[in-house]
């Protein structure tokens, strides 16, 4: 699909309405070995185009799977018709923040020679064989490689012309051992922005230190104790600070959720965290290198910019699309993204992170008399009240400033803005977590990052 033809089509068929036209292809692959058996060997390509038109507060959207110029014409006509259908039956009113015409050509495709599916199936088998050779007593082992490439060509009646390709690839390993209380699992993931060739494919023996670390953790978990239920002082490892930034804070400041009643709507320019907390949704670059999910121009044609959500504890900005930016009189900073060609753009986080401080992790642990060190993020959920929850994959008791017994499983929760006010130390470390999908009507790849935090949270346990 040629961008210039798309632009001509959308400009001639939009009937005077602001209209977007997007061609998109998502290419997925998944291969998985379970106890040495290839249980998943699948590839999926979803190609198509969609149009979205805006009329006085109403959106019309239409998509077609045939990626032809005739389909593009039909999609634009139907999107305009859909917007007019709603417009003829209501008087909502509304406007979009204007966006300047943006032009972009950006690809994060690998520059290395591409390997075949057969190569990766064999390589994964070597990974699995290595795990079996090293740890024959495991109850179960699962080795899964996933990859996703999202390619978009996009034009608007405002004159935006965008072509982007953002891939990511991950290797997930799950080890299971037996314990007195039944099987215990531990999962870890590696990979990130880029294609499989950018992260994997070398000598599998080089993964030994990672495997050894995982094996040590799962064995510790098997002998682990359940945490004591209730509120505790904790040290959250950097990967947990990332999911905290995303779940506990990020969702509450998405403009559409603020309009829907999120607690953050009443907190603008108020203190929501301690002085040590600065939280930023990065567009595409952090510390001079690409963030896990780079967005240069969003799916409404808005140039993506870093958004400082919380600055030294004070709530400063929501995340907006052009409509909520207009509503809140804030800047649109490029948060509108759609997952597949048939999805409409929603306000989505990109790379949400708490900025590092100057404490050492060692000193932070030393400062806790009784509490927990928690690491390894599982799934998480947020609430309009700011109450959040996420699962923790591993952890240790802290007694008199020293790590104690390992934990088996844990879930932690809190109220975001109360919990952020309890942050009393922030480490100088920083880590990105890149394998997550955010769920909000559509799934969406996101990046999450942060340092270690000392704070108070509720821990679910016995």
């Amino acid at each position: 699909m040629d961008l210039r033809s798309m632009l001509a089509e959308v400009q001639s068929m939009s009937d005077g309405l602001y209209t977007e036209l997007r061609w998109q292809e998502n290419r997925d692959q998944r291969m998985s070995y379970l106890n040495g058996q290839l249980t998943s060997n699948s590839q999926e390509t979803a190609t198509g185009l969609s149009a979205r038109a805006f009329k006085e507060g109403y959106w019309g959207f239409a998509s077609r799977s045939e990626p032809t110029i005739d389909s593009a014409r039909l999609a634009v006509q139907e999107a305009v018709k859909n917007a007019r259908f709603l417009g003829s039956r209501g008087k909502k009113g509304g406007a979009l923040l204007p966006a300047k015409a943006t032009s972009l050509e950006k690809s994060y495709a690998t520059t290395k020679p591409k390997q075949s599916t057969g190569f990766w199936i064999q390589w994964l088998k070597q990974v699995d064989d290595r795990l079996l050779a090293k740890f024959p007593a495991l109850k179960a082992r699962q080795v899964t490689m996933t990859s996703l490439e999202m390619e978009k060509k996009f034009v608007t009646t405002d004159g935006a012309i965008v072509h982007s390709l953002v891939p990511r690839a991950h290797l997930a390993i799950v080890l299971t051992v037996d314990s007195e209380s039944g099987p215990v699992r531990y999962m870890d993931v590696r990979g990130g922005l880029g294609e499989k060739e950018d992260h994997f494919g070398g000598d599998v023996n080089q993964l030994d230190s990672w495997f050894d670390e995982m094996h040590k953790i799962v064995q510790e978990k098997a002998k682990g104790v359940m945490p004591e239920a209730g509120e505790h002082e904790v040290i959250l490892a950097p990967d947990l600070a990332g999911i905290l930034a995303h779940e506990a804070v990020g969702h509450t400041v998405e403009g559409d959720l603020v309009m829907g009643g999120s607690v953050a709507g009443d907190c603008m320019n108020q203190r929501v965290g301690s002085d040590l907390v600065t939280l930023v949704d990065f567009a595409h670059t952090y510390a001079g290198t690409p963030a896990p999910q780079p967005v240069h121009v969003d799916d409404e044609g808005v140039e993506a910019k870093d958004t400082v959500i919380i600055e030294k504890g004070i709530l400063k900005h929501f995340m907006n699309n052009r409509e909520t930016a207009h509503h809140f009189h804030q800047a649109a900073t490029g948060h509108a993204r759609a997952f597949k060609f048939y999805d409409e753009p929603l306000i989505r986080m990109r790379n949400t992170a708490i900025l590092p401080g100057d404490a050492s992790l060692e000193d932070m642990i030393k400062s806790v008399k009784k509490g927990y060190f928690l690491a390894g993020a599982g799934n998480g959920q947020a609430d309009t009240t700011g109450e959040f929850m996420f699962a923790v994959n591993r952890g240790y008791e802290i007694v008199d400033g020293k790590l104690g017994r390992p934990l088996r499983e844990a879930t932690i929760s809190g109220v975001a803005f109360e919990m952020l006010k309890s942050v009393s130390m922030v480490s100088r470390d920083f880590e990105w977590e890149s394998s997550g999908y955010c769920g909000k009507k559509q799934p969406m790849p996101v990046g999450m990052g942060g340092p270690a935090l000392k704070c108070r949270v509720a821990v679910g346990g016995q």
Binding site: S42, S65, G461
Partner: protein, 430 residues
């Protein structure tokens, strides 16, 4: 335009290079009207076609999905298939569904959306809830018409052709008064028609009413181990982690906690769980399993005794256990004999769990998370809405400690679920 069956037939007929080959073709159309922040804001129409190609050759297996039907895209997909098959290890457990095991040809539900009625219904919902529930903040609501034409054809002579149209409605909301807000909640249901007002679907009205009461939530500062009443809309959080131990992943990996428990008492005798895809009032019916076998009525737990595995044909061959004769989408939990009031009457101090926001359960069934939209029960009465309360339990112990099941059940158009009272759950506040 070719039908899904014609496309699948033609591709199978013209693709003879594999030992066994199958094409599943879906033609989907969707029409969606959406409310954002209380007002109708989006009309979205989508059309898509999806082809799933499954091939077995020399005992090797692979699948390729694409959503284009032109010859060039299909040729590329076949090339990917050859490559994926070449390197896959031999796995003799792979097989396609043979002739005669699929569902009979069926077309169910509307074939076209009633756009004007969809608009009338969703506008009435927006206005009605704004009038009736002044302290309810409607964040988002979606009314969709979905029509799926699905055909499966394979080289063993298998053919199925199923069309199904449904209206699906979901609303997400919270109670809000001044700067006080409840936890968000959501509810929805599936129907074959738009005869009823949307607010009457599933448990929407009850849950929206509860959200307003939950504005006045109080943080819970106690801790006890005891009785919890699980609302129908939260039951899945505990039943599905249990059922997962009857399926492929856990049984093949050897990590199922129910592996040697067939025909044994694995849950309270008050608990009977069935699958019933033949209930006449279903909004959406599951016609076939993912492998194409007709989904039939079945009993998973009969008075707490394990009656069937939920294994695919592949899982059955890998484990040597019998294949399930049913999917599990149209789940039913048998009703009990007592009212909700009688269910909570004996509880001195307990929790009514409206929604569970929790982590995935551990491999041994331990689970913990936040009790959302939940209430304290004291001396047989629901007394106050709570916040900041966590619960933890083991799902296997929990289902053994079912003490009572309600007479009333929630019908969301897919499943039937009652209130369930369990014991032995740790409830902890700040």
């Amino acid at each position: 335009m070719k039908t899904a069956l014609e496309i699948a037939r033609e591709l199978v007929k013209n693709t003879r290079e594999f030992d066994a080959f199958e094409v599943i073709c879906h033609r989907d159309r969707m029409t969606e009207m959406q409310i954002d922040a209380g007002e109708v804001s989006l009309l979205r129409t989508t059309e898509n076609v999806n082809l799933t190609l499954r091939a077995i050759h020399g005992g090797r297996y692979a699948t390729v999905d694409l959503n284009q039907t032109d010859s060039g895209s299909y040729a590329q997909a076949l090339e990917k298939m050859r490559e994926a098959l070449k390197s896959a290890p031999v796995d003799e457990a792979r097989a396609l569904a043979p002739k005669g095991v699929g569902p009979e040809k069926a077309s169910r539900g509307p074939t076209e959306p009633d756009l004007a009625k969809m608009h009338d219904r969703i506008v009435a919902f927006a206005r009605g809830t704004a009038d009736q529930f002044r302290e309810l903040k409607m964040e988002q609501a979606m009314l969709q018409f979905n029509r799926d034409e699905a055909s499966r054809v394979n080289s063993l002579g298998y053919e199925s052709e199923i069309g199904q149209g449904t209206y699906d409605f979901t609303a997400m909301f919270s109670g809000k008064r001044g700067d006080k807000t409840s936890s968000f909640n959501y509810s929805g249901a599936t129907s074959q028609d738009l005869d009823r007002e949307l607010i009457e679907w599933g448990a929407l009205k009850r849950i929206m009413q509860s959200s307003i009461r939950e504005i006045d939530h109080e943080a819970f500062d106690g801790k006890f181990k005891g009785q919890v009443v699980i609302a129908p809309e939260a039951v899945d959080n505990f039943v599905w982690p249990f059922l997962a131990h009857l399926g492929d992943d856990r049984l093949i990996a050897g990590t199922s906690q129910l592996r040697d428990k067939m025909e044994q008492q694995v849950a309270s005798e008050l608990l009977t769980i069935r699958v019933n895809p033949e209930r006449g009032s279903l909004g959406r019916r599951e016609f076939a399993t993912r492998e194409g076998y007709a989904s039939k009525k079945g009993v998973i737990l009969k008075n707490g005794v394990l009656k069937t595995w939920l294994l695919s044909d592949y899982g059955a061959r890998k484990t040597g256990l019998p294949r399930a004769t049913t999917g599990a989408a149209n789940l039913e939990i048998d009703a009990g004999e007592i009212s909700f009031a009688d269910l909570i009457k004996p509880i001195k101090k307990g929790l009514l769990l409206g929604r569970f926001s929790g982590g995935s359960p551990a491999a041994n069934g331990e689970i913990s998370g936040v009790a959302k939209n939940s209430y304290l029960i004291e001396n047989g009465q629901v007394t106050k809405p709570l916040s900041e309360v966590m619960i933890s339990a083991n799902v296997f112990d929990m289902l053994k400690q079912v003490e009572a099941v309600s007479r009333d059940r929630m019908d969301d158009g897919m499943t039937l679920k009652p209130y369930i009272r369990v014991n032995g759950v740790t409830v902890a506040g700040k």
